[in-house]
Symmetry: C2
Subunit: 432 residues, 2 copies
Amino acid sequence: MKTINVGILGMGTVGSGVVKLLQDHAALLDRRVGARLRVRRIAETGTPRIAVDPKLLTTDAMEVINDPQVDIVVELIGGTSVARTLCLEAVQKGKHLVTANKALLAEHGLEIYQAAATKRVDLGFEASVCGAIPIIRSVREGLVANHIESIMGIVNGTTNYILTKMTETGQPFAEVLAEAQAKGYAEADPTLDVGGLDAAHKLQILASLAYNGYIRFSDIYIEGIQKVDAVDIAFARELGYRIKLLAIAKEDSGELEVRVHPTMIPDTHLLASVGGVYNAVHIRGDSAGSLMFSGRGAGQMPTASSVVADLVEIAHNIIFHRPSRVSLLPTGAMAEGVGLRPMERIRSRYYLRVMALDKPGVLSLVSGVLGENQISISSVIQKGRAEQAAVPVVMLTHEAVEGDMQKALKRINHLDAVAQDTVCIRVEGAED
Amino acid sequence: MKTINVGILGMGTVGSGVVKLLQDHAALLDRRVGARLRVRRIAETGTPRIAVDPKLLTTDAMEVINDPQVDIVVELIGGTSVARTLCLEAVQKGKHLVTANKALLAEHGLEIYQAAATKRVDLGFEASVCGAIPIIRSVREGLVANHIESIMGIVNGTTNYILTKMTETGQPFAEVLAEAQAKGYAEADPTLDVGGLDAAHKLQILASLAYNGYIRFSDIYIEGIQKVDAVDIAFARELGYRIKLLAIAKEDSGELEVRVHPTMIPDTHLLASVGGVYNAVHIRGDSAGSLMFSGRGAGQMPTASSVVADLVEIAHNIIFHRPSRVSLLPTGAMAEGVGLRPMERIRSRYYLRVMALDKPGVLSLVSGVLGENQISISSVIQKGRAEQAAVPVVMLTHEAVEGDMQKALKRINHLDAVAQDTVCIRVEGAED
């Protein structure tokens, strides 16, 4: 039986999971691969989380990359600086590469995809998006015969956990975040997650594959969940909606929208029931129709499951002398003139919460401003709260243009009868 | 650009969808495949549902198979007799084969898998299970690093439509079936669907892949939905459950259970909210954890989407001179001594509805019989209905052994105070 040698960069949580999986499932994998996947070398500067043969260990990542026996390099260091250099080095040395590093691919993917294409090596990154869910394969292979109409994903477990908890308990954001940090569900510096950047990284990767062209990370509109208020979650529920942080890619009339923001979806939508740290991706293809994929989006073994799936695919390619699938990588601009739609031109329904000092007066003023900006209201809830100076006036709009909404909001927030900035949440997944 | 020639057997609904998709998405597919997928020949004895160049048409399927230009044969005739002969002929002629024919693979798959392995041709059958959902790829490739603990699927749209409608309206089975037939959601002869056979076909294919060994169709326990009563759906709802026809494969202590039957699942379970003609598969892998895939399980374009995905994969293999993936087919007995667990030894929780003539007396008698068979009751609902001679006594049991339950049921049904056969529905997806 042929041996395929794997070099691992980074023996943290996921790296240890990969080594454990290769050990525990050696017999099963031998049989399914038709070759032995062997860990040949591991680079780690700290202490490995599981016991490994000390002879395999080195503190120098280049030793792993330069080892002529290593067939596949697995980058699990994270970050975009050292990891970028090492990934490019590995590819330059003709190594196949597997990575779970979404930030790296989202920010420097083009360089890496192009290098892999030039060197004709395989590049596996199933683990970079939604952990255990085989979403990369599904988009690239399973739905290859589709023009993708839309992708809507809950792709960040931390924010989904926080929003789910806020929905269940009514607690404010800061309190739930602190709890999540205490439980290890959120990082000490939670910016990457709660700010929507991690979700945007995954969206960049998925949308680039789905639309066959490299989307610049800086072109993605990003809004985090820091300002999501327990009050709005409660109103959303009353209206039959949930608030989720969604990563959205949508094609319409030859233009592509790519955006990450808190989004209201009807509680009957399949994504609405995806709670806690689970991830899910809802895709509409023009021939396949609506599909949904859900599962664990992070964690040691779910992520390792996808890393090893990539190792198996590349091992197959090696033992059968197949060329890599680099032809399917988004190595250039989007084909067929699909352009990105600027955020101000997207169309959406909106949830607005206006904090009114003088309720009856404000409703007429606000609806006037909206009307002047081609925005019509579909429903209004007014709740008086005696103790408060300002009372919330909640409304849902019909579909409107984002730029019009931003103009209207500026004017509404300047009204004397409006006590604080109006909350505005985009609504998806419902009929207008 | 290289041309890959496709020969299509059967130009019914799916065949027409495949031709349409190849035409409509020609530019997109050229780009993604790096080759042109061309329909070279079509065998159809009736009138094709869409306009095609008459020169492509023949009434003789062997003309398509014998055409030396044809690289890939797509079998969309259905049935297990003529289709079997033609598929084997195509493979013998060295053609790659794509089929959506679940009955054929479930009943004669071993022969076809072995022939494909011998002739080293590719065999694509993504469309045979759950229409547009890339479930074959996900099990075979995405979850390759997992020992699969369980598969639970809603894999038949007709029965899911009927059960969903019965749940929503409270109508009886026969009435909903008649409506479904009128709307074209159910066949004139609905046996294959409502009897659970179609679901069992799909289970045979999925479970054989997941457990790396060919499972005989006759070893699958099958129970249809014909006897599901609106009364039991109503009781299930009251208890917080839905009734779904589930295809189940579960491994436990080295034994595999494969069964299709009406099943009660908690209404919080992800599968519970999959309504109408949608399909969904819930999979637990030992490293990936729980995953769910849902989408359109049938229909012209969803099925064509998966057929064309297979064509693209095989086209890639041809243009890059890759060998086929036949090594991943279940061409023999299950590995590592995994045996099938006979139905009488499975463990399950159960819902029972005993029709009692004398309520207080019957509960003590029934619980006595259950206790003697190592079955303990977890909850009981008793509803008196004044007008009726017999009243329903509904109970949920803790986990018990199927054989014990069958023995107990026989005795319960012979009790003088029991007016008719007791309804027994297995319960899954809930903690005991």
